[in-house]
Symmetry: C2
Subunit: 479 residues, 2 copies
Amino acid sequence: MGAPANFLQYVDNNADSFIKRLGEAVKIQSISSDARRRQETIAMGLWLNDQLTQLGVTTKLEDLGTHVMQGQTLQLPYAIIGKLGEDPKKKTVLIYGHYDVQPALKSDGWATEPFELVVDNEKNRLIGRGSTDDKGPIMGWLNVIQAHKELGLDLPVNLRFCFEGMEENGSEGLDECVIAEVAKGKDGYFGGVDCVCISDNYWLNTRTPALTYGLRGIAYFAINVSGPGQDLHSGLFGRMVHEPMTDLIKLMSKLVDHDGTILIPGIDEMVPPADEEELKLYTKMDYSTADVEESAGASIALSDHKETVIMGRMRNPSLSLHGIQGAFSDVGCKTVIPSKVAGKFSLRLVPPQTPEAVIPLVKAYIESEFAKLNSKNKMNVEYLHGGKPWVADVKHWNFEAAKKAIESIWKKSPDYTREGGSIPVTLTFAESLGVNVLLLPMGRADDGAHSTNEKLDRSNFIEGTKVLGTYLYEVAVAA
Amino acid sequence: MGAPANFLQYVDNNADSFIKRLGEAVKIQSISSDARRRQETIAMGLWLNDQLTQLGVTTKLEDLGTHVMQGQTLQLPYAIIGKLGEDPKKKTVLIYGHYDVQPALKSDGWATEPFELVVDNEKNRLIGRGSTDDKGPIMGWLNVIQAHKELGLDLPVNLRFCFEGMEENGSEGLDECVIAEVAKGKDGYFGGVDCVCISDNYWLNTRTPALTYGLRGIAYFAINVSGPGQDLHSGLFGRMVHEPMTDLIKLMSKLVDHDGTILIPGIDEMVPPADEEELKLYTKMDYSTADVEESAGASIALSDHKETVIMGRMRNPSLSLHGIQGAFSDVGCKTVIPSKVAGKFSLRLVPPQTPEAVIPLVKAYIESEFAKLNSKNKMNVEYLHGGKPWVADVKHWNFEAAKKAIESIWKKSPDYTREGGSIPVTLTFAESLGVNVLLLPMGRADDGAHSTNEKLDRSNFIEGTKVLGTYLYEVAVAA
């Protein structure tokens, strides 16, 4: 069925004013991880709340309390919970987005002022911090609602909203807030939600729209090794004592092979191999190792075999060594034997893996490897944090609706992708609401979400707005 | 022959005033590595220069120029070059010491104010920064000269002095200064020097005086591995690309075995095994693995075999892994794939090893191990700095004189020790002057030279002063 022609026309006609509103949002430096910007982050939430209420959305500002950051006790930015439409004959779609952004300084290497939205008319790009992550997508939803209001059109579905201001800083307080709202049942804002749509990730490349149906989980560990009572001088003690770094480096070297194979017995084995049908998915995908190497900034793909590389990110677990706490890490030369070191690494998990399932394997293996060292140092494996992986059913009408919307606007079928990283709230929605969650990215792979010169292509903003609107019409008729 | 009885008596009678003078020296916060204390470090040199001239020493203050530190261009503390006595019939002894100290804050864990010399009458200890390293030994020499001046005694030898104020910060400018002075031949202060005595290290334990005849050299390296154009997100790129940390940790794990064996082919093999005579030296030494473990603060000796542990420090090379630059090193959890990492390690060298001899072995081995990884990352091995090991002839009259002085004062034969660390000026003196250099420690193993609550036992200061004086008499008659 698609969206009405006058909606699509309205979006084209009002593109400039939509971009202007995105510019107003970008101007507010809502950097959630910087204590000095906390008031601006809160102000950004209030600005967004104003926009929503002016468009007829009923909202409430959820006070998430305080937290301690950078030595200060700070008020958390509000979570904005909202609703628009109460028609029992319509489906109800819950929309999530976040209004906070990553830090940015011009001196980081930006070609323009990061908090001024610059329209690059040559490349048709909107450049500025938050343009694609995640103010652009939020503005996309506002554009859709505004169009219907101005045109006097009824929205085809009831909408529910959950916008937060701490996504770039651990989403503190959000899970509890969502779970509490869900627990209110029909009396709460999230009563009767039929599906969830999150627009907060990216196409796999710069050419083909994507729908994302999976995210890897994570299990983050530290290997703590300690020995001497204090840091020792390597001249005085070298070759007299068991050095914690020698043990730690040996243990860290036993975790992952240079080709990415996880050496901890039982981890890779938990994941069933891809069957022919699944393999075809990756073969079909509009993606190449050249795409990987372009985004990594170097020719370092683990394989020339496209499917192997894609599966490495989307359907296989991975293990990365992040660094060592307590060792010498500065420039220059220090002849220290560090007394207490912590090697940090994490596993990215895929179904059916869970942190609970991998923790005992990780601990047992490292303990057995440590025993082989005959060291008099002390060692323990510490599980620091984690989250389960998530995979959605792509045959659900929620995904079908999004697919039709993309085909209708972009004239192209989407790539079905799984992401290598985690968006924890996805799992919170899926588990607490028990409904299908869809990740519907607006931006492209080269948007530079957490990097310098973050951008959103003009077409992704404008056509993307049309996709979001059309998606709601497809949801309305889906079954 | 020994020292005259009235000299020894004078030292006992004036112990309190000697301690008072040490207290004045400790009070001056001559922390050479702290730009904020540079003026005090220079002031300490001027105070010492005053003391020397008042005692009849002819001095010159060597301006070593400036250097840049902590973002400031700073004047270097003066080297004090001095002479006392020009009798051609006497031997000439060059004395070295340093008047700068390590940093110290009460909040580091000091029980007393670090820059107030506290006399602990219960344990008979003099507690304060610099008490043992190296203001105590310098004051010891002043005590000896003062005693002779006050008693109207001729010193048995001519004395030459070299005191610096940058030892704890790389001895910047000193080598050039020493070499230039030596190059002046008979016209310079160091013309006609017969031997050198350095009192700037420690007994092997808390019981037996020591004479030190060897120091290990050093060769410090970085293994640089780089890949991605920028740091990557481990969720997005884990198991898609060659991660520099995976390669680096593998390489670092191939350098040293958990028992201290150096795995780089040819390094350990350069050092001939100890023969029976040498082994007896270690067996005889008043030292146990319990001593090692006490000073290391934990039961982590590499072996229960005393000789193995002693040889590990004194006559064998060692390899220590110091840390990694560029990786995540903070508290908490960061899911980063670092793009560029540098693993730091150093080798302690013993004769006949030199940095020049080991560098090609280190580079070739690591390069061959890297080749096995089939990684697309870039790797290079960087030699950062180094110095040759030093060993002196213990049968030289300079050592014999010191041995007799120790036996006369302490009623005990000294341990003959080699130190695991480096005092680069030792080699500079030995090579530029071509004479025997003796390390004659004043303090004990538990003095905590670079640590909190640094102390010098009262007996080590007072009896140590007697040893220094007696040593000069023994030198005078030695042949």
